[in-house]
Symmetry: C2
Subunit: 301 residues, 2 copies
Amino acid sequence: MKKAFLDYIHKLQEKITTSIEDIDGGARFKEDVWKRPEGGGGKSRILENGKVFEKAGVNTSAVSGVLPKSLEGYFNVKDSKFFACGLSLVFHPKNPMIPTVHANYRYFELYTSDGDLKDQWFGGGQDLTPFYLIEEDAKHFHEVCKSVCDKHSSNLYKVYKEKCDSYFWNHHRNESRGIGGLFFDYLKSNNNYKIEDWFSFVTDVGNSFLKAYLPIVKNRKDYKYSLNQKNWQEIRRGRYVEFNLVHDKGTLFGLKTNGRIESVLMSLPPKVQWVYNYIAKKNSEEERLIKVLQNPRDWTT
Amino acid sequence: MKKAFLDYIHKLQEKITTSIEDIDGGARFKEDVWKRPEGGGGKSRILENGKVFEKAGVNTSAVSGVLPKSLEGYFNVKDSKFFACGLSLVFHPKNPMIPTVHANYRYFELYTSDGDLKDQWFGGGQDLTPFYLIEEDAKHFHEVCKSVCDKHSSNLYKVYKEKCDSYFWNHHRNESRGIGGLFFDYLKSNNNYKIEDWFSFVTDVGNSFLKAYLPIVKNRKDYKYSLNQKNWQEIRRGRYVEFNLVHDKGTLFGLKTNGRIESVLMSLPPKVQWVYNYIAKKNSEEERLIKVLQNPRDWTT
């Protein structure tokens, strides 16, 4: 399973970075290979200052070793070893009419201190963070998410869509980070699913990513935008930073397992603004976005 | 004591905002008065897009009520009431040759659920975050800090200077947020000091703030700088955000006590960049700064 999923995420990384370079047409990904002193390492690919993407990162990593003390409480175990691998991506487009996107597909194994496997699960998801709400795009993204879930079971989309809305809730702002998508974790073998079924599910979701996101990029990349709209994008990116640094468990995991800091924090946007007490104008497009973030909507009905 | 310190921070807020407006000569502070639903409130003063300061905030607040559950562990108490008041300021200058500065002077009381006072203490400090290291300025700031400490006791500066270096340590970057200053907390009555002595100490430190910072602003505000130097400032501001959102207990306290979010987060810089894996050139001024942040130095000997 480890080998199969590692193989999968490396191929997916290749496929996604190639497609993004194609559509960007300006910049190329640079690759950094890094090792974790305690075991494992990763391969980070970052594109900066492209024509379409201001910053895009697609990282794969596979880390292992003794589970750090600081994470024992989190998993409710003691004296364990672990293996974790996954692909994480965040794209920050230049044009504020294109949403920022995030995706993560990961696999985790826990062992006793003797190295016997005691638990294994998949996790991940994909979600969209628009700066301007183009309903057609929100629907398209969610419909792709739904159709890949429906292939596996008719109840999965509803559950993982709701988990996504609740996970990416930016508590201190009382609003969602974006308009969601899918979020799932602890996908373990049980009465209904074998671990191989979850492998099939998670890899299907990963395979749907480009189909969910690329058409949006293609349709919006040549839209005109004003300096005010660009400023709004940079202010909203501030909320993205706040979520990732204050609430995101993935970032926390990276910082606590002595992950490679630059890879963990590649999710942070290239240019960000904090304007004191910025309030969107009444009945503006900016206010319309905020309202949807405060009250997550159903996009597939 | 509550009344005396509240009175003090309001006067200090007035004095500091007036001085900053004078030296800025461009923008004025705007005041927001807010109330906390659970008790108390504050007065935020923010200046944006000035000639000298891109963003400057000087907040006072006095909050009280039942100590939130989420903070009981932090103070190691149960079923308590509290009162907290203080002044917080953060100035983000435009010119990267002027350091960012932060200061906080605060007073805290804990009560039993019946309202009997069971503990009281002062805390606070002031610290400098330069983008380029001008040694003369670092020395000046620390010398003012030292001389105000020495008035009260010859050992205070050393202790609070070291506490400052350790508090503002940006763990995940393995460097300090800035070049320090003073940091102190839990200043309680004991064999050597009455609570009134700490009142006198903390208010003396607050009174030294303008003397410590303004001469630096005056001396550097007309320095020329390049676009590269401005970019470096914005990249370093990213580290400031990381510290405040990941490690800072004051920010955490604000978020957990349902403080006014815009006032808690006024510390965040106006414009920030995250450039992937930015490494300062060998033997550059930028690298010289990093080296001092990695190895905090003694500035008064």
